[in-house]
Structure formats: C-alpha cells, structure tokens
C-alpha cells in the first residue's frame, strides 16, 4: 500500500532528470522529497501524478500499477507551487471543479465545498475570485480543491515556495495538523531542509536525479550516508577529511592535543545564536555556533587567537576518521560516525 516507485528513469534531452530512482512511501505517511533545484524531486512527484511520462520504471499507487494511467484516473490530489488557481472561477467553483466533473448533485457538492472551505479557513470567501486572495489564501484554496475529490494520495510541489517567510511557517504547521487529521498519504517537494524536517515524518534526499538517502529527520541528521546529505540537511565545516557541524565545534582559549589554532575573523550575533568565523593556520575557513552566554564567558574578540575542538566529526572516505591531535579510528565502509568519546 502507499506509493512506490521502482527504477524510474526520465531524460529531458541531454539532461538526466531521474536516474534509476526507487522510493517507498508508506500508507498514510507524510514524506518530503528534499533536494536542490535540478535534483529531480519535482519530476519524480509529477511522474507519480501522471503529469510526466517516465522513460522507464514503475509507479504503484495503493497496490495498483499506475505507470500508464493518465493523470485524471490516478486519484491524486496535486498542489502546484504557483497555485494553478482557475482564474476565471470563484473560490467556490474552483473547489467544486472536481466534484462537478464527477457529476455530484448540487446539494451534495455545496455541502462538501463548504466543509472544505471551513477546513482551510476560507469559508467567508467562497464568492471571491483568486485575484482577490492573498498568496496564502490561494494556496489553501488549491489545497481544498485537491482534497475535495477525496484523493488516495496528496502531492504537493513546493507548495509554500512562492509565499513569504511568515505565511510559510504558519502554513506548514497547518499542513502538519491537517495531515494528522486526514491521514491521506502525502508527498511534498521542497528544497528547504528546515521545512522538510518541520513537516515530514519521512525524508527522501535527492541529488542529480538519484536518491541519496531516506529516513527520518533524526536519522539523516545524525547518520548521513554521505557528504552531500550531511551538508544538505544542515550546516557543515570541513576539516581535512572530516565534516563537523558548527554546533559541534567547541571554542576554547587554551590549546591541548585535540585542538586546532584559529584566528577569529568575525563574530556575528544572530539573536540567541552567535556565529564565530575563524581561519585555521592552513587557511581553511570554518565557523562555530555558540550561544550568547558562551561568547560572554569566553570574552572573544575579533582578531584574537582561539582554539577549536571538534566534539563530533564524520568522515565518508571509508577509512579512519580523525580530529587533529586525538586520532580515534572510527568509520565503517559505508560512512562512519566518528563521535569522539570525550564528547558524546
């Protein structure tokens, strides 16, 4: 059950959009397809919806082979980044569209439309045209329209991409709650890792037409399969072969055998968080994330020498991982986890 894609391939001219992609989306889950632009995530979503034909591979929706089914017969609800509102129709007619196609009678349609408009908090605006709505309202209308026909799966293509930051945050909280109520299998595409982690239970990280890793937000953050995933799901510094998260960089004033010397170049205060940028002796630029309290305790100033101690580092070259000074071999052939004993 749920949605599964096996060995999907898609080429646009010289560009390989999907390269042997397989994913499994459990029934009733909320899954994010996460990746940079051009990673194939939207193409994959559109292939599931039937808006894009695959060159090869299988799409299964709720146990049924949907690979060659046209979009109108797949029973999917699709929400577009730019809303795709029917501009010449009122909000009511937009939401009622799928029901009218299914030849519902008037009373039933009206009841269903108002139920959905209430759900998306647009009940008073049924008579308006899309041009009279804000971006957030248009996207909620598009969502109501997709949900009206009781789709087996809900697919959202960067649904909040065109909205401003505040509305975006409200809407994603709202989408998560909606999913908790409705339990319809949902996939949503985003390039924003914070959004993906905030909303989705399961994440699929894509890059250059391939799936890099899938799992929960914690799994991806704590055990990234490779360098790409590690740097895509969070900030990262590179120290030789090791990758260290900025919040895993301890800044101290006294050197010991596990520290590296650095020159404090810039201190940026971002509210609670403080960003300390340093240059190491070999010229590498790194940054450490501290709290205000830590900064005040250290009395750091720009231009002074400080010492860095990676608390937790990762290496993906399959061999040992080490942080300067304290050589602690870790790392498995498929990507090691080199948490230093002192810190974990």
């Amino acid at each position: 059950m749920g949605i599964s894609v096996e060995g999907a391939n898609k080429r646009f001219g010289d560009f390989q959009a999907l390269d042997d992609v397989s994913i499994d989306v459990p029934d009733g889950s909320l899954t994010a397809l996460l990746g940079p632009s051009g990673s194939g995530k939207s193409t994959l979503l559109r292939a599931i919806a039937g808006l894009e034909d695959l060159d090869g591979g299988l799409v299964t929706i709720n146990g049924e082979d949907a690979t060659t089914k046209p979009a109108q017969k797949r029973g999917v609800g699709f929400v577009f980044q730019h809303y795709a509102a029917f501009k010449h129709m009122t909000v009511y007619d937009n939401v009622a569209f799928g029901l009218k196609i299914r030849k519902w009678d008037k009373a039933k349609t009206s009841a269903r439309v108002h139920e959905l408009l209430e759900l998306v908090q647009l009940d008073g605006l049924a008579g308006r045209f899309p041009s009279q709505l804000s971006g957030g309202q248009r996207q909620r209308m598009a969502l109501a329209r997709a949900l009206a026909v009781e789709p087996q799966v809900l697919l959202l293509d960067e649904p909040f991409g065109a909205l401003d930051a505040k509305v975006r945050k409200d809407l994603r909280t709202w989408l998560r709650r909606l999913h908790e109520e409705m339990h319809v299998t949902t996939i949503f595409v985003t390039h924003d890792q914070e959004e993906a982690m905030d909303v989705a239970g399961q994440l699929v990280v894509m890059n250059e037409g391939r799936v890099e890793q899938s799992g929960t937000a914690d799994e991806l953050y704590e055990h990234p399969a490779n360098e790409f995933v590690m740097s895509f799901v969070g900030e990262v510094n590179r120290l030789g072969d090791d990758f260290v998260r900025p919040h895993d960089m301890e800044v101290v004033l006294d050197a010991d055998e596990r520290t590296q010397e650095g020159l404090v170049q810039r201190i940026v205060t971002l509210g609670f968080e403080v960003r300390v940028e340093l240059v190491l002796s070999d010229g590498t630029e790194v940054w450490a994330q501290l709290t205000r309290a830590e900064l005040q305790r250290l009395e750091l100033r720009e231009g002074q020498i400080a010492y860095l101690r990676p608390v937790q580092a990762k290496s993906f070259n399959g061999s040992s991982s080490s942080t300067d000074g304290a050589s602690t071999p870790h790392g498995t052939p498929d990507g090691g986890d080199a948490g230093l004993p002192a810190a974990v």
Binding site: G50, L51, A71, Q72, F80, F97, I101, R145, A146
Partner: protein, 266 residues
C-alpha cells in the same frame, strides 16, 4: 523621465494632426458627400436590389469565414504552443503568409488553381462552381483573414501556461473537459479580439475577392465590390452610401474590440 510641457504638447499635436489629415478628414468627407443631397439618394442606392444583395453577401462571407478561421485558429495556436515540434517555425511562417502576400496575388493564385486547366478545375466541371461564384469568394475571404485568431491566441496561451490545465486533469477532467472548462475560458478575450479583427478584414476585403468573383451585379458582389462598381459607373452617391454602411460596420467592430480590450484589462 517626464517630458516637459512644450514637447509633450507638440508631440500630441503631431500625433493628432497626423491622424486627422490621414484618417479623420477622409472619413468625414464620406459622411459629408453621402448626405450632400439629403438622405434620399444614398438610401435608394443601398436599398436597391443590388445593394441589398451585396450587403447580404458580405454578411454571408463573415458568417462562413469567421467561424471556420476561429476553429482553425484556436486549434493551430494550441498546436504551436502546446506541442513543441521542429515543424512549428515552418507552420508559423506559413500562417503569416496572408499578411505578407498582396490580396490580389492571393486572388490570382486561387484563379490559377480552380480556373480552366488548374489542378482543381475538375471540381468546377462536376457542376460545383467555385470561380465567379460564392464558394470562390469564401475561399478568398478565409485565405486573407486566416492569421488573426492564431496571432491573437498564441500569446495568451503562452501566458496562461499549463498549470491550470494540469490541475484540471489531476482533478479528473479529460482533455475535452479541460479544453471547454479551463483553456477556452482562459483565452476567450484573445480569441474574441482575433474574431473582431477577422470580421473587419473579411468585411473590407477587396483585392482577392474581386479576382475570383468577377464582381457580377446582384450575384457576386460584396459591399466593397459594390462600392467600386457604383463609383466606376459614376453613381457617386450610391458609392458613398455603401461606403458609409461599410464604415459603420467597421466602426461597430472597432467599438466591440475596444470594449473587449477594456474587459481584458479589468
């Protein structure tokens, strides 16, 4: 950058002066000349059997050519915008042909094709008269007015994109339902604008129709041909009267076009 007052005024004066000299004065002269001897003579000319027949024939041309070119135009625009192919630039260029080629040449080409010894002359020999009859005139009218609906619809189709159509298909609409409920309503003002321009062109067409019709009084004369015949026969009042009818029809279409423009902007 705002132009200063004197230059703004002189620009306006130039623009309006140009329009007055070249467009308004000639049109006003028609009005004046038509009613110089009262309303009687021009009215007689228009209501003469030949005049009425010419009016009827002109309306018939519009009634046949405009719907056909509208259907063809929408289909062709959809093909050009929605189905990318290497042939598209060629189709695009061919559609513009009637704009580039002189109507007289179009008339001649039809004459060669359907006249004695032409490739399609057998149709006439079967008893279905094309040249010097209404079918030939319809063909000429369609030819000269073909590009308008395509040209006006293509940019609108490009602008609306495919998102709405795809949304409709995920909601269960088939291709036909999507076309009627989503695509056509979205492009309706572009199409309407194209229809108005097509109508104006068909009403006013002279060159191509003259050649294929033979301009036989009371048989194969549209209004422009009637005007020309009256003028050539020194019945100037009749010519002016018929011209006036044409001018009024043109003004109505122009007015309709302006109305549509405003609707589109709203």
């Amino acid at each position: 950058m705002a132009a200063n007052a004197p230059s703004r005024w002189s620009l306006r004066f130039l623009g309006l002066g140009y329009l007055t000299m070249l467009l308004l004065i000639p049109l006003v002269m028609i009005f004046y000349k038509t009613f110089e001897e009262g309303i009687g003579p021009p009215l007689d000319a228009i209501t003469s059997p030949d005049g009425l027949h010419a009016l009827k024939l002109s309306v018939l041309m519009v009634a046949i050519a405009v719907p056909l070119n509208t259907i063809f135009g929408i289909g062709c625009a959809l093909l050009l915008v929605r189905h990318k192919s290497k042939l598209n630039p060629v189709i695009d260029a061919v559609i513009n042909l009637p704009f580039a080629v002189s109507p007289v040449v179009i008339g001649l080409s039809l004459y060669i094709l359907y006249g004695t010894g032409g490739w399609f002359s057998f149709i006439g020999e079967e008893g279905f008269k094309i040249l010097f009859a209404v079918p030939g005139m319809v063909l000429a009218s369609i030819f000269v007015s073909l590009p308008f609906v395509v040209r006006e619809t293509v940019p609108v189709l490009q602008e609306i994109g495919t998102d709405q159509e795809q949304a409709a298909s995920t909601l269960g609409a088939n291709g036909w339902q999507t076309f009627w409920k989503i695509t056509l309503p979205s492009i309706r003002w572009g199409v309407a604008y194209g229809i108005v321009l097509t109508t104006a062109r068909v009403l006013g067409e002279f060159g191509a129709v003259t050649i294929v019709s033979g301009s036989i009084n009371g048989q194969t004369q549209t209004l422009p041909l009637f005007v020309e015949k009256q003028y050539a026969n020194f019945n100037e009042t009749g010519a002016y009267g018929a011209s006036l009818v044409l001018a009024v029809l043109a003004l109505i279409t122009l007015f309709a076009m302006n109305l549509l423009k405003r609707k589109e902007d709203a």
